[in-house]
Structures are given as C-alpha cells and as structure tokens.
C-alpha cells in the first residue's frame, strides 16, 4: 500500500498508470481524485493543514481496514496539504482488485473514512477573508453504511 502526504502537485494520469502497472492479475483499477472547487465564485485559495505523524498512521489504518474488508490487491492514497489554488487536485485514491465491485467499494470506503477520520483541515481564502470549512453531518453519516 502506498500512502503519501505531500505539498507538491501530482500528475493523476501518471500516478494512475504507475499504479496500474504495478498490479498483477488484477482485472480492475478504480481511481478517484478530489479537486479544489470554487462554489462562491471568489475563492482565492484552499489552505490545508494536517497533523504530521497521525495523518500517515490514520491513512495506513484506513487502507488496512479496506484490505481486510474487500478482496483488493493494492491501494494508493495521496493527499496534499499547504496552499492550493482553485481547480488544483487535492488528493487521489486508487484501488485494484480482481473484480470491479471490490475496487469500487474499497475506493468509496477509503474516501468516506479519510474525509472524517484523517486529520486534515481545510480553510477557504476568499476576498472577504479566510474561513475554516465546517465538517458536514452527511460525511459523518456516510460512515454508518460501512
């Protein structure tokens, strides 16, 4: 399993291809990427803070849970922190499995868990100032289905 927490941008296509190339006997690779979105029309930047040390161990733990629950070959979680501009990629996950169901399910599980269980915090910087993004109840509720 490949867990990376970094400030640097990443190339989604290159990462997806490299991930797929590392697999053997896997019929399915699923990728998801999260992108900074400008809902209000005046977003200047998204600042992402994290808890070094705990972030890596929490992501590792989430990936191990996914591997225990579904028949997956491998998982990649890559998450950026620092200052990001609108439309930049924040993060990606990739999963591989013999069959697509396991790859899709594991990728969704990784996303649901890392949204509310990995120690990242987002702050939106607009012309009006900076504001921490509030956690959504829906994100917490999403964990109940697993």
């Amino acid at each position: 399993m490949d867990i990376r927490v970094q400030t640097a941008p990443f190339d989604l296509g290159a990462e997806a291809n490299a991930f797929a190339a590392r697999q053997s006997g896997m019929g399915a690779v699923v990728t998801f990427s999260g992108i900074v979105r400008d809902l209000g029309g005046d977003l200047q930047a998204m600042e992402i803070e994290h808890y070094p040390g705990m972030t890596e161990s929490a992501l590792q733990e989430i990936a191990e849970q996914a591997r225990a629950r579904w028949q997956i070959g491998d998982a990649l979680i890559l998450h950026r922190y620092g200052r990001l501009a609108p439309d930049e990629m924040i993060m990606m996950v990739a999963t591989s499995a013999r069959h697509r169901h396991d790859a899709f399910q594991a990728a969704e599980f990784l996303m649901d868990y890392l949204k509310s269980r990995a120690p990242f915090w987002k702050k939106e910087v607009t012309g009006a100032g900076a504001e921490w993004v509030a956690a959504r109840d829906a994100d917490e509720d999403a964990l109940a289905r697993w």
Binding site: E49, Y51, S57, I90, A118, P119, W121, A135
Partner: protein, 81 residues
C-alpha cells in the same frame, strides 16, 4: 507531555503547542486546567462538542486517561478528502 492544537483551535489559542510537566489524570482534567489558564483557552474549549481529541496520535474520548501519554492533540472535526 506535549499538547498540540490544530486549525481554529490553534488560531484561537494563539500557538500550536504547550508543554505540560505533570499530566493530569484524564483528557477532561487537562481541558479544565487549560480553560482556567486564560480567556483564549476558555474560548477555544467552550464547546467540547465542536472538538475532537487524539491521545498519542489516536482518536480518543474526553475521559481517556493520560498516564504515560506523550502527546495530546485538540482539533475541530476533520475535513479531508
């Protein structure tokens, strides 16, 4: 023991870290000690339902014991992804 603050908890308190020489018995006791320090701590810890706590980098409850613990962190609910 190190006490770390993240996101708006850090901003409200004004610094990222405090060092506590003699840890109290539980996280809740630590919260009470911090609240008593200064107004900015009392403000940061006013509503515990808005806070999460990690003990030695694992999510924990406010009644978690602190014996032998090296690091406690307080932060708002996480917003990754």
């Amino acid at each position: 023991m190190d006490v770390l603050y993240f996101a708006w908890v850090r901003e409200r308190i004004g610094h990222p870290k405090d060092r506590i020489e003699t840890p109290p018995a539980t996280v809740m006791d630590l919260v009470e000690d911090l609240r008593a320090r200064e107004d900015r701590y009392a403000a940061a810890f006013a509503d515990l339902s808005a806070l999460r706590v990690a003990v030695d980098q694992e999510l924990a409850d406010f009644d978690a014991p602190l014996s032998g613990v090296r690091e406690v962190a307080f932060f708002p609910p996480m917003t990754g992804g």
